[in-house]
């Protein structure tokens, strides 16, 4: 991977905080102080356990969840908060989402043709009926489905096929950024690779940028260029994929990586998961900040911890 510094930033989050009003006096903060940039053409993965806030961030970018603080910019323009109608249209056309559950995210009472054309209808992105149908056919072909599927209903398809319909529906808008919220975790293991390969193929063909939200580290290692690890609503570590897997620095990342099951039973038997002792208590304070330990490798820590992490990385590098 090329260095991250001199590349064009597509999406950036600054001090993003998302909280939910749970009726009580204290609001529940799902995401705190999230900062990261997504560069054009990369696959940026967001990993973390259930309830860590990764989906919330994805939905905030899609503007389903509102920010309580901070801002999100896309190509330098603010997209959080209230937008004018034109800006709204631009954002919708440029950022699209692939949903987790293909069974729940398609309208069961509409044909595939309608599902895929929905975005075209909304912004009238076609010259005439013929053009629209040609676009739908092309979108179906791109994801490996047949034009004859247009008149079918979602329940007639397998999970993998439905997810590909979901991909076609997002890509017909010709977006620049695609937020993929656990796009394969609801799929059968045998067809996960099919969908991942398709996503990679489409990315290369169309020059897409992905925000890939997942909890499965083996999948993330396969697809992502850079990874952000999120824990209890806080991003604890950001690094390029191989860098993160080679030199995990934050204790949470280390324990997360130690939990990945190995496909080889003999190695799997020797695998010792490392328990993250501070899992329940929030580690934060005025000294804590994202600090660059190695090139392009950021960890949320205090200066003292940063020194220690740098030393650990040095040791690991020497081995």
């Amino acid at each position: 991977m090329s260095p991250t510094i001199d590349r064009e930033v597509l999406l950036s989050l600054r001090n993003v905080e998302i909280s939910f009003d749970n009726g009580g006096k204290k609001k529940f903060k799902a995401v705190q102080d999230a900062n990261f940039d997504i560069y054009k053409g990369e696959t940026f993965a967001l990993v973390g356990e259930s309830g860590s806030g990764k989906t919330t961030i994805g939905r905030a970018i899609m503007r389903i969840n509102e920010l309580s603080d901070g801002e999100i910019t896309f190509e330098g323009k603010r997209i959080s908060g209230s937008l004018s109608k034109q800006e709204d249209t631009d954002v919708i056309r440029n950022i699209q989402m692939i949903f987790q559950d293909p069974a729940a995210s398609l309208n069961e009472r509409a044909t595939i043709e309608y599902c895929i054309s929905e975005g075209l209808y909304n912004f009238h992105l076609y010259r005439d009926e013929e053009d629209r149908i040609a676009k739908v056919d092309r979108a179906l072909e791109e994801v490996g489905l047949l034009p004859e599927h247009k008149s079918r209903y979602p329940h007639e398809f397998s999970g993998g096929q439905r997810q590909r319909v979901g991909i076609a529906r997002a890509l017909i808008m010709e977006p620049k950024l695609v937020v993929a919220d656990e796009p394969i975790s609801a799929l059968d293991v045998s067809i996960r690779a099919q969908v991942l390969n398709l996503m990679n193929k489409l990315k290369n063909e169309k020059g897409l940028t992905y925000l890939f939200i997942a909890h499965d580290l083996s999948v993330v290692r396969f697809i992502a260029d850079r990874i952000a690890v999120i824990h209890l609503g806080r991003i604890v570590e950001i690094a390029e994929t191989e860098e993160l897997f080679a030199y995990p620095l934050h204790p949470y990342t280390i324990s997360l990586l130690s939990a990945v099951p190995m496909p080889d039973p003999i190695i799997e038997k020797q695998r010792e998961p490392i328990v993250y002792a501070d899992a329940t208590e929030e580690k934060t304070g005025p000294d804590y900040a994202m600090r660059e330990i190695r090139r392009g490798h950021y960890v949320y820590c205090t200066p003292e911890q940063a020194a220690k992490y740098a030393e650990n990385a040095e040791k690991a590098n020497a081995q």
Partner: protein, 313 residues
Amino acid sequence: MMERPMEDNLDNLFEFAEFDEKESEHIAAPRYSYWKSVWRTFVRSKVTIPLTIFVIALVLFALIQPMYSGYSPTVAPNINNSDMKYLSPSREHIFGTDNIGNEVWDVVWAGARNSIIVSFVSTTIIMVVGILVGALWGFSKKMDKWMIEVYNVVSNVPYLLLAMILSYVLGAGLGSLIFVMVCIDWIFVAYFIRTQVMIIRDREYNMASKCLGTKTFTMIVKNILPYLVSVIVTYISREIPLLISYEVFLSYLGLGLGTNYASLGRTISQYKSFMTGYPHLFWIPVLVLAAIAISLYVVGQKLADATDPRTHR
């Protein structure tokens, strides 16, 4: 040491099967059409076809017969002919005659006609208004805040009191009775639809539509209402017979149609004094009412079942 040679043989024993990727995407099942499946499920049950024909015949007969009989409650041609009073049902007088020499046959169908018209028209208006308001109400959180207060107030006003006041103010006619029924009932339909919309409003496919920039109205028409067909049909199938009975009930109390309209309710109320002497006078209108209401209800329920896609195939 047996395993080795066997493993070597595996390569010879098996060969790669060829498969067509396009063919594997093909769906062999016949095309699904929602309304065709509804129809197929509806006619599957043996009771429904004869009962549906019966209902249609009954309704058509009630609508057409009064046009030929020319019955009007304001004229009583045989009132001075004592030979024509209190006749039992016979070949010439199918339902017999009543205390003023009218054919009960004509009286009952004229009454049934008005009941059916009132019920069908008010059900249509109630459902249209209720669904429109309910869908917006369920979708908009802002609207919900004040609509729920309106609902709390309106739904706690005793409906009989409301009917009384409205019918005194508006007078007793077909139009005003329909208005009374719409006034009383629309908010319950709207509330019912609001709850249904809220249940499916935040499902993922609606979120997906929102991300694609779909407008609220399109979402209601394309994403929400198709899911509610079954519950709406169920509601209608209850509403029509209920409003027929309701017309009868209000007219029985003297709050419904005026004396110059034929009405099943008022007929029953007038004939109830002959229950012991000439029981057929009382029971015939009651049984006709029951036949209309129950058969409409059963057919409606069958249709409601058929519109539920879970019953398909």
